[in-house]
C-alpha cells in the first residue's frame, strides 16, 4: 500500500508564486509562474477486479470472449465488439510472457518520470492471453541499453513491493536474468530480485602514454568549456541549473561546475559533488563536449558511468550545449 505521507504531487514539483519581465526588442513582456491542476477521486469501475488483483492478490486478469475465445489483457472491455457484444468473463493469466515487439527505451523522460529514466515500455503477451499488456521493462544489470529486450524475449512479471492498484504496480524483466524458481514463482516481488548495485568503476594507474592523452583531452575540454561560456545559446541551456560534477578518467580527475548559465572546469577534487562521472578514456567526454558524438549515448553504451541515473537531465544539458556551440558556429 502507498505510504500515508506520500502526496499526489510531490512538493518539489510545485513552483513558487512569482513572475518576471522579459524584454524583447525593447518591449517588456510579463511572464508569470502558473499552474492548472485538478484532483480526482476516480473509480476504476469495471477495471476494479483487475487493479485489485494486482494490488492485493498479485495476480493478473484478462477477459475471455465466450464466442470467439479471444483473451484480452488488460481486460479493457466487458463485452466483445467483434461478437455482437457478447459478455466476456474474467480469467487469470500466467505471469510469464513474450514481448510482442522490440520495446522503445526512453532516455529523455517527461517531467513526471525523470526519476524513472531510462526505462523501456513495451507490450507483453502473457501466457493465456491473445492481446498485449503495456508494461515497463527493466534489466537487472544496470542501464537498459538497446538489444537487451527484443521482440520474442521471454519476460517475467515482477510486482512492486509497494502497490497502489495501478498498472505501474508491475513491470517485467528478462526471464533469462532470473533463476528458474524466480521465473516459476507467482507474485514475484521486486525485493526478491538481486538488482545489480551501482558500483563506481575503478581506474587503473595511467601509463605515460595515457597521461599524454589525458593532458591533450583536458586541454580540449577546457577550450570547449570556455567556448560554451562565450556562447549565449549554450549559456541559456543551463540557465537556472546548478550542478557540481566530479569527473574521473584514466590519467586524472577534475570538476565541472555548472551555475545558472556559467560553466567552468576546475582541477580539483570536490568534497560533495552532486554526482560523479567516470570515463575510462578522457576522450569520451572531450568528444561529447566537442559535438563529435553524444554524451548521452556514451552513458547508454557504458563508455561513461554516472553515479545517479536522475542526472541524465544534466547529461542532456551538456549535449545541448555542445549542439548550441556547433549551431552558433554556422
Amino acid at each position: 500500500m502507498a505510504k500515508k505521507t506520500e502526496k499526489l504531487i510531490p512538493a518539489e514539483y510545485i513552483p513558487d508564486v512569482g513572475s518576471h519581465v522579459l524584454t524583447i526588442d525593447k518591449k517588456k513582456y510579463l511572464i508569470a509562474n502558473d499552474a492548472m491542476y485538478t484532483f480526482y477521486q476516480r473509480s476504476k469501475g469495471e477495471f476494479s477486479d483487475f487493479f485489485l488483483g494486482l494490488r492485493d492478490d498479485k495476480k493478473i486478469l484478462g477477459c475471455k470472449c465466450p464466442k470467439c475465445g479471444l483473451v484480452r489483457c488488460p481486460p479493457f472491455l466487458t463485452h466483445c465488439p467483434d461478437c455482437d457484444f457478447a459478455a466476456t468473463k474474467l480469467v487469470e493469466l500466467g505471469q510469464v510472457g513474450t514481448m510482442l515487439c522490440t520495446p522503445p527505451i526512453t532516455y529523455f523522460a517527461n517531467s513526471l518520470f525523470l526519476k524513472m529514466a531510462p526505462y523501456g515500455r513495451g507490450r507483453v503477451v502473457l501466457e493465456g492471453a491473445d492481446t498485449a499488456l503495456a508494461v515497463n521493462v527493466y534489466t537487472t544489470t544496470g542501464i537498459l541499453a538497446p538489444g537487451i529486450i527484443k521482440k520474442g524475449t521471454k519476460v517475467k512479471v515482477v510486482f512492486r513491493d509497494d502497490r497502489n492498484g495501478e498498472i505501474s504496480d508491475i513491470f517485467c524483466v528478462p526471464a533469462s536474468e532470473l533463476t528458474k524458481a524466480q521465473v516459476a514463482k507467482k507474485g514475484l516481488l521486486s525485493s526478491q530480485i538481486n538488482w545489480e548495485a551501482a558500483v563506481e568503476p575503478t581506474m587503473k594507474k595511467a601509463t605515460a602514454a595515457e597521461q599524454e592523452i589525458y593532458k591533450k583531452a583536458l586541454k580540449e575540454i577546457k577550450s570547449v568549456i570556455k567556448l560554451m561560456n562565450e556562447t549565449e545559446r549554450a549559456r541559456k541551456d543551463i540557465m537556472g541549473w546548478k550542478r557540481d560534477i566530479q569527473v574521473k578518467t584514466t590519467g586524472g580527475e577534475f570538476a565541472i561546475i555548472i551555475n545558472n548559465g556559467d560553466i567552468k572546469l576546475e582541477e580539483k577534487k570536490l568534497t560533495k559533488p552532486d554526482f560523479i562521472m567516470v570515463a575510462k578514456s578522457p576522450k569520451t567526454l572531450a568528444d561529447g563536449l566537442a559535438y563529435r558524438g553524444a554524451i548521452t549515448d556514451s552513458v547508454i553504451m557504458k563508455r561513461l558511468w554516472i553515479s545517479k541515473n536522475m542526472e541524465f537531465t544534466t547529461i542532456f544539458k551538456l549535449d545541448r550545449m555542445a549542439r548550441s556551440v556547433a549551431r552558433s558556429k554556422k
Binding site: T102, A109, R121, A132, D297
Partner: protein
C-alpha cells in the same frame, strides 16, 4: 451530388519555439487577418469556422476556441473545433470540406493554432519535459499513462515493430540523410522555426538518443504558431479566384481512419500504420488516383519522426514496404526524384504547432503546386497513441 471544394486562401504565422510576444488569441487573429487578405475577402463573407486545436492544457483553458470566435470576427456564426491529436489539422480540413460539399456553407475558415511551450518544468528549468508531460496526458489513463507513455515512445513502438519485420530498412544512414535534406528545404521557408538550422547527415548521426531508436535531430520540434485556409464551394471559389488572380487548388480526395489503441491479436497491427494505408487509399479512390506513384507530385507529410515518414510513404504506396530506404537509395525523394517531400522542411524543421501543423502543410502544398505548376499533392496528418489516427487530403491544381 456533393459540391466541389477548393482552397482559395492560405496563410501562416511565423512558427517559433516560443512566442513570448503573443498569446494564442493574437496568433489566431494574425493567421485570420493574413488568410482573408490572401483570399481578398472580408471576414464577414466567411460563413463558418473550423478550429484545429489539439490540447486544452497547452492553451491553459478548456474550449480554448470560445474566446477566438469574436476576436476573429465570426460572432453569431457557426464555429466548431476538431481535436484528434497530431492529425487535428488534417481532420479539421476534412470536417470543413464535408460541410461545404454538403452545401451547408459557401465559404469556411479552417484555423489551426497552438501555444505549447508556455508549459514549463521548474525541476529542469526548461519547457520540453513539461510539454512532453502535457502530451503524456493523451495516453490511456488506466493502462498506460503511469508507465511513462509519451508520443515519442508510442511512435517508437510502431517503428521498432516495423524494424523487427524489416531489419534492413530504416538504416541510420538513410534517416540521417532525410533529416539533413529536410533541413535544406527549410532554408527557403521564411516562416520555419529552424529556417537557418541546416544539419549534415553526420550531425544527425551524432545527435543524442532521446527515445530509442529516435535521435534528437530525427524528431519534430515543439512550436507555437497558427495557420489558416479559406475553403469555398465551386461557384464561390471561382469568383474568389477571379478576384485574386490565384488559381484554385481543389480538394479532390479525403480519407480518414483510426485504428485500435490496444495491440495484439485482432487489435492494432504493430508493424503497420494501417490508418495511413486506409486513409490514403480512400483518398486515392475518391480522387480517382489509380497509380499513386505516377500521380503524386508533392507530398506534405506529417513527419513526427523521420522513421515514421519512411513508413508512411510506404503505406501511401509511394515506396515499397520493407524497402522504404529507396526514398534515398533510389533517389525517389532526392531533388529531381519522383516526389518532392515536405518542401516546407516538414514538422521537423518548419515546426510542429500541433493543431496548426497539417494546415501549414496544406498551405505549403498549395504554394508548391502553384509555384511549380504541378498537378497533385497529398497532405497528411497522423496522431494519437501508436500512430492510431490518420487524415489525408488530395489537392489538385487545374
Amino acid at each position: 451530388m456533393s459540391k466541389r471544394v477548393g482552397i482559395v486562401g492560405a496563410a501562416v504565422t511565423p512558427f517559433k519555439a516560443k512566442w513570448n510576444e503573443k498569446t494564442y488569441y493574437e496568433l489566431a487573429q494574425m493567421a485570420t487577418r493574413e488568410v482573408v487578405k490572401d483570399a481578398k475577402i472580408p471576414i464577414k463573407d466567411v460563413d463558418a469556422v473550423f478550429y484545429g486545436i489539439y490540447n486544452d492544457i497547452f492553451e491553459r483553458t478548456c474550449i480554448p476556441e470560445h474566446a477566438l470566435h469574436g476576436l476573429i470576427g465570426m460572432q453569431n456564426k457557426f464555429g466548431t473545433r476538431v481535436s484528434t491529436g497530431g492529425a487535428t489539422g488534417a481532420y479539421t480540413i476534412s470536417a470543413a470540406h464535408a460541410y461545404l460539399a454538403a452545401g451547408r456553407f459557401k465559404t469556411a475558415l479552417v484555423l489551426g493554432v497552438e501555444k505549447c511551450t508556455d508549459c514549463f518544468d521548474f525541476m529542469s528549468m526548461s519547457a520540453t519535459p513539461e510539454v512532453i508531460k502535457s502530451i503524456g496526458w493523451s495516453g490511456d489513463s488506466f493502462f498506460e499513462q503511469r508507465l511513462g507513455w509519451t508520443a515519442a515512445d508510442s511512435y517508437a513502438e510502431v517503428v521498432l515493430a516495423y524494424m523487427d519485420e524489416h531489419p534492413k530498412d530504416l538504416k541510420p544512414r538513410v534517416t540521417a540523410k532525410i533529416s539533413s535534406l529536410l533541413s535544406q528545404y527549410a532554408k527557403t521557408n521564411k516562416y520555419a522555426q529552424r529556417q537557418f538550422d541546416q544539419v549534415t547527415p553526420e550531425e544527425v548521426m551524432n545527435s543524442r538518443l532521446v527515445v530509442y531508436p529516435f535521435k534528437e535531430l530525427e524528431i519534430c520540434v515543439y512550436t507555437e504558431g497558427a495557420a489558416a485556409l479559406i475553403l469555398a464551394e465551386e461557384e464561390t471559389a471561382k469568383a474568389i479566384s477571379k478576384n485574386t488572380g490565384k488559381p484554385i487548388v481543389w480538394i479532390t480526395g479525403l480519407g480518414e481512419a483510426n485504428e485500435h489503441s490496444f495491440a495484439g491479436k485482432k487489435q492494432k497491427v504493430m508493424p503497420r500504420i494501417m490508418s495511413d494505408y486506409l486513409a490514403s487509399h480512400q483518398a486515392y479512390k475518391m480522387s480517382g488516383i489509380k497509380n499513386p506513384r505516377k500521380s503524386i507530385d508533392i507530398v506534405e507529410l506529417h513527419d513526427a519522426f523521420v522513421h515514421q515518414l519512411e513508413i508512411t510513404m510506404a503505406e501511401f504506396d509511394l515506396v515499397p514496404r520493407g524497402n522504404a530506404d529507396a526514398l534515398i537509395d533510389d533517389g525517389l525523394m532526392l531533388p529531381g526524384g519522383e516526389y518532392l517531400v515536405n518542401p516546407c522542411g516538414g514538422l521537423i524543421y518548419s515546426g510542429h504547432a500541433v493543431g496548426a501543423s497539417n494546415i501549414m502543410s496544406a498551405w505549403s502544398a498549395r504554394n508548391e503546386l502553384i509555384k511549380r505548376k504541378k498537378k497533385t499533392a497529398i497532405v497528411h496528418g497522423t496522431g494519437s497513441t501508436i500512430a492510431q489516427y490518420t487524415a489525408v487530403c488530395i489537392l489538385e491544381h487545374d
